[in-house]
């Protein structure tokens, strides 16, 4: 990238340690962290949840909670000690010399202020501009992000703009005063794949133009491989490994880095069960439509017919016994709506055929169907009742469907826990005592406890860390191999689904636009939307390659 113009690093952190005081005692968050970023350099900080990466970002911005205790080390911004600054000095500094871009643009923007006012505020606060001048400067800054109709966006409120537009506004605000350093906290994770790609392009362009130093926090190794110059891998508050990106990724020294790299899904490394023999479909949905907000009875009587919004429109696909069908699409494309329809959680129009039975309404699903079709949800924290023990949760399907005699339930629960690689003692624990990955295993065990023929997995790996993700995916296919159940796997992670699925269906704006065998993913016959999705996620093979151009 740009050659360093100044020998002194823009950000220099040396031997920094941070701990939090909690009722349970002092918990170390960062331990002897050393890191420096030069002008024009992008330094990636890679780690899993709870590794301390966000703590470091807040420490740099000097916005720590009251129970934080800084024990050693210093944080220098162009040689000035930030730890010695007063509150007022930091307030003058934030936004002008250090800026931050947050993960979720809808949470980072004030919902009661127009987007234009939020950009102009930075100019008024730090440049002392008048309102009109600040508004004009804001408009110029927003124009620079390549957004369509910047003048119209400026006058909108956050809820009237899309996620991508909002993130552009946040980025324009961050770059507004040409800061020396910008901290990016996973700026693309909350966006869907195609928008994330545009935001990244914008970041690369602005970085080249301004030569800003960037600290880029992420858990996404392939993304870091594309954009960063140097990388630090953080684990349990400690920097495990640091160096130029291509060196670290092509020859990782630490075991932890190697494990992380191995966990990144690669389409060519299949972990799917063998292709099942051709058979008549187990489940066939056809002409499924789900609408929200149709006109109510009174509105219709008054002749006010509002347009309903369709969560899914005329969707049809089938799943064969023992098969894993991937259902992909951006957020809001109707993937989860389909999961709810098939698991009997939402009213629908159309037909669901299961084996030789046909259903035309949600009420028609009986207990036999519900036993044969099980669902696993995205958030393991929300899908287990916090007031029931793991044993209670797992024994419920056994008792409800009378699958094993009453006396053998505890033994079967232990067996279930073992099949998902959890110790049998977990039966007496409560969900909050388990980690996210362990909870998701319990949710999977609960689904398979019912001895289903079809398991619907609604983004089950999205809320988990990369290393846990791979283990959960392997566990799922292992269980599938053992039980012969078919699986509908809903995800937005294309690399993962290409490892797992036999066939893939693509949804866009409530419609099914494409469906193909996984081997034909790269075929030119693919729908343009499928091609765009595939191009937006680079193959991890590029991680091993030469330094980024």
């Amino acid at each position: 990238m740009t050659a360093p113009q100044d020998d002194r690093p823009v950000l220099q952190i040396s031997g920094y340690s941070l701990a939090y005081e909690t009722p349970e005692g002092t918990v170390a968050a960062l331990d002897d962290v050393t890191l420096d970023i030069r002008h024009g350099e992008t330094h990636a900080l890679v780690g899993e949840s709870g590794s301390g990466k966000s703590s470091l970002a807040w420490a740099i911005l000097r916005y720590l909670p009251a129970n934080a205790r800084e024990t050693t080390g210093e944080i220098l911004l162009s040689g000035e000690d930030l730890r010695a600054k007063t509150q007022a000095q930091m307030e003058a500094l934030r936004g002008r010399r250090i800026a931050m871009v947050f993960q979720d643009p809808s949470a980072a923007l004030n919902p009661a202020m127009r987007l234009g006012d939020q950009i102009a505020e930075v100019f008024m606060r730090h440049r002392g501009m008048s309102r009109d001048a600040a508004w004009a400067a804001g408009l110029a800054a927003l124009e620079h992000t390549g957004i369509l109709h910047p003048d119209r966006i400026m006058r909108r409120y956050p809820h009237e703009a899309s996620g991508g537009e909002k993130q552009r506004v946040v980025i324009a605000t961050a770059f507004a005063c040409n800061p020396e350093l910008i901290v990016f906290d996973e700026p693309t994770t909350a966006l869907d794949i195609l928008t994330a790609q545009q935001i990244l392009d914008l970041f690369l362009r602005l970085r080249a133009e301004t030569g800003v130093a960037a600290l880029y926090i992420s858990h996404d190794l392939e993304l870091v491989g594309r954009i960063a110059d140097r990388v630090s891998v953080i684990h349990n508050g400690r920097i495990i490994e640091a160096g130029p990106v291509h060196e670290v990724f092509s020859a990782p020294r630490a075991n932890y880095t190697r494990d992380l790299m191995a966990a990144v899904p690669r389409p060519e490394m299949r972990i799917a069960v063998p292709e099942p023999a051709p058979a008549p479909p187990l489940l066939r949905v056809s002409g499924i439509s789900v609408s929200y907000g149709g006109p109510g009875r009174i509105a219709r009587m008054l002749g006010r017919a509002g347009q309903p919004f369709y969560g899914a429109r005329d969707v049809g696909f089938d799943i064969r016994p023992g098969e894993l069908l991937g259902l992909v699409g951006a957020s809001g494309s109707g993937k989860s709506t389909m999961a709810q329809v098939i698991s009997g959680l939402r009213e629908f129009e159309g037909e669901v055929a299961f084996g030789d039975r046909r259903f035309h309404a949600r009420r028609a699903f009986d207990r036999d169907y519900r036993r044969a079709v099980q669902i696993v949800f995205q958030h393991p924290d929300a899908s287990l009742n916090p007031r029931q023990t793991i044993g209670g949760i797992l024994s419920r399907p056994l008792r409800l469907y009378g699958l094993v005699p009453r006396a053998e339930v505890p033994a079967r629960v232990r067996e279930l826990l073992e099949t998902v690689l959890l110790p049998p003692e977990f039966a007496s624990r409560y969900p909050h005592e388990l980690s996210g990955g362990q909870k998701q295993r319990v949710a999977i065990a609960r689904a398979f406890a019912a001895e289903p023929q079809l398991v619907i997995c609604d983004e089950i790996t999205a809320a988990l860390d990369v290393s846990v993700q791979a283990a959960v995916a392997r566990l799922l296919t292992g269980l599938q191999r053992r039980s012969g159940a078919a699986c509908l796997f809903i995800t937005h992670d294309l690399n993962l689904i290409r490892q797992l699925a036999h066939r893939i269906a693509v949804m866009q704006k409530g419609r099914l636009v494409d469906s193909f065998d996984v081997a034909e993913a790269e075929s030119p016959a693919r729908h343009p939307y499928t091609r765009a999705l595939l191009q937006a996620v680079p193959l991890p093979a590029e991680l091993q390659g030469a330094p980024a151009p």
Partner: protein, 273 residues
């Protein structure tokens, strides 16, 4: 419980509650005099060695009256709250679980009731039912019902959309299992907390009714009535108004602080990581 005691407000609240509850349980037995006994020679006196908190217009010992009135006052608060919370939560849970039109009808009726100021509504009911302690208790309970129904409905609604409830529906569980085992245990927290805070309101409304002569009748030692009876003698002996007044305030504050701390302890977002 440890969580509550760590919070300074919770500590003070628990301390006040212990005092009030022990007075309510032991009060009548440790009172130095008969609460209705006249000491004609020493009327409207300030605190002295014989009468620790002074005497009222008939020369009755204020401390004894206070201790004898404690069970009635505290029981009034607890009883009215229990009735109101019970009825309110049942209505609220029905509305929240049923949803749709049943929910709309119940909630619109409750909105109508809520539009009336609490005290005015109580007065209306008491006038209707006639004065007396049990009538007053019933009136307070009826007043509490719409608010509690609203709170328990929203607690149920927020739990009802959680994934574990969805999972139970997808499993084909019966309605009673879903309500009894999945929804209710997780919705109880906010209801219990609100109930604790409402005890203090109930005691204050009870005292107000007593003061207006619509609750307990003389010669009862109910605290609100004590204030009402003594108010014409306030300038000759301020103690006979201040003593029951402070007692009411302490009880209300105790329940209020305890309820606040309970809410903090139940709310995981308020807990530090």
């Amino acid at each position: 419980m440890r969580e509550i005691l760590r919070n300074p407000a919770g500590l003070v609240g628990s301390f006040l509650l212990v005092i009030v509850l022990s007075a309510a349980v032991l009060g009548p037995f440790v009172a130095p005099y008969d609460p209705q006994q006249f000491h004609a020679a020493s009327r409207l006196q300030g605190p002295s060695a014989a009468f620790w908190l002074g005497t009222d217009q008939y020369g009755r010992d204020l401390l004894s009256r206070l201790l004898n009135g404690a069970p009635a006052t505290v029981l009034f608060g607890l009883g009215a709250t229990a009735l109101g919370v019970g009825a309110g939560s049942i209505i609220g849970v029905i509305a929240g679980v049923a949803g749709g039109r049943v929910d709309s009808i119940i909630m619109r009726v409750l909105d109508g009731l809520l539009a009336m100021p609490e005290l005015l509504f109580t007065l209306l009911i008491v006038t209707f039912l006639g004065g007396g302690t049990s009538q007053a208790m019933l009136a307070v309970a009826v007043t509490f019902t719409p608010g509690m129904a609203r709170i328990s409905r929203s607690a149920v609604l927020s739990v009802r959309t959680r994934d574990y409830v969805q999972a139970a529906i997808a499993r084909g569980e019966s309605r009673s299992w879903i309500v009894g085992r999945e929804v209710l245990p997780n919705a109880l927290g906010p209801i219990i907390v609100e109930a604790t805070i409402r005890v203090s309101f109930a005691i204050m409304i009870g005292a107000t009714l007593g003061f207006l002569g619509l609750g307990a009748q003389p010669p009862s030692t109910e605290w609100g009535l004590m204030v009402a009876e003594a108010r014409q003698f306030m300038f000759r002996n301020p103690w006979c108004v201040a003593v029951p007044g402070v007692a009411i305030a302490i009880t209300a504050m105790g329940f209020n602080l305890f309820g606040d701390a309970l809410r903090d302890a139940f709310d995981p977002r308020r807990r530090r990581i």
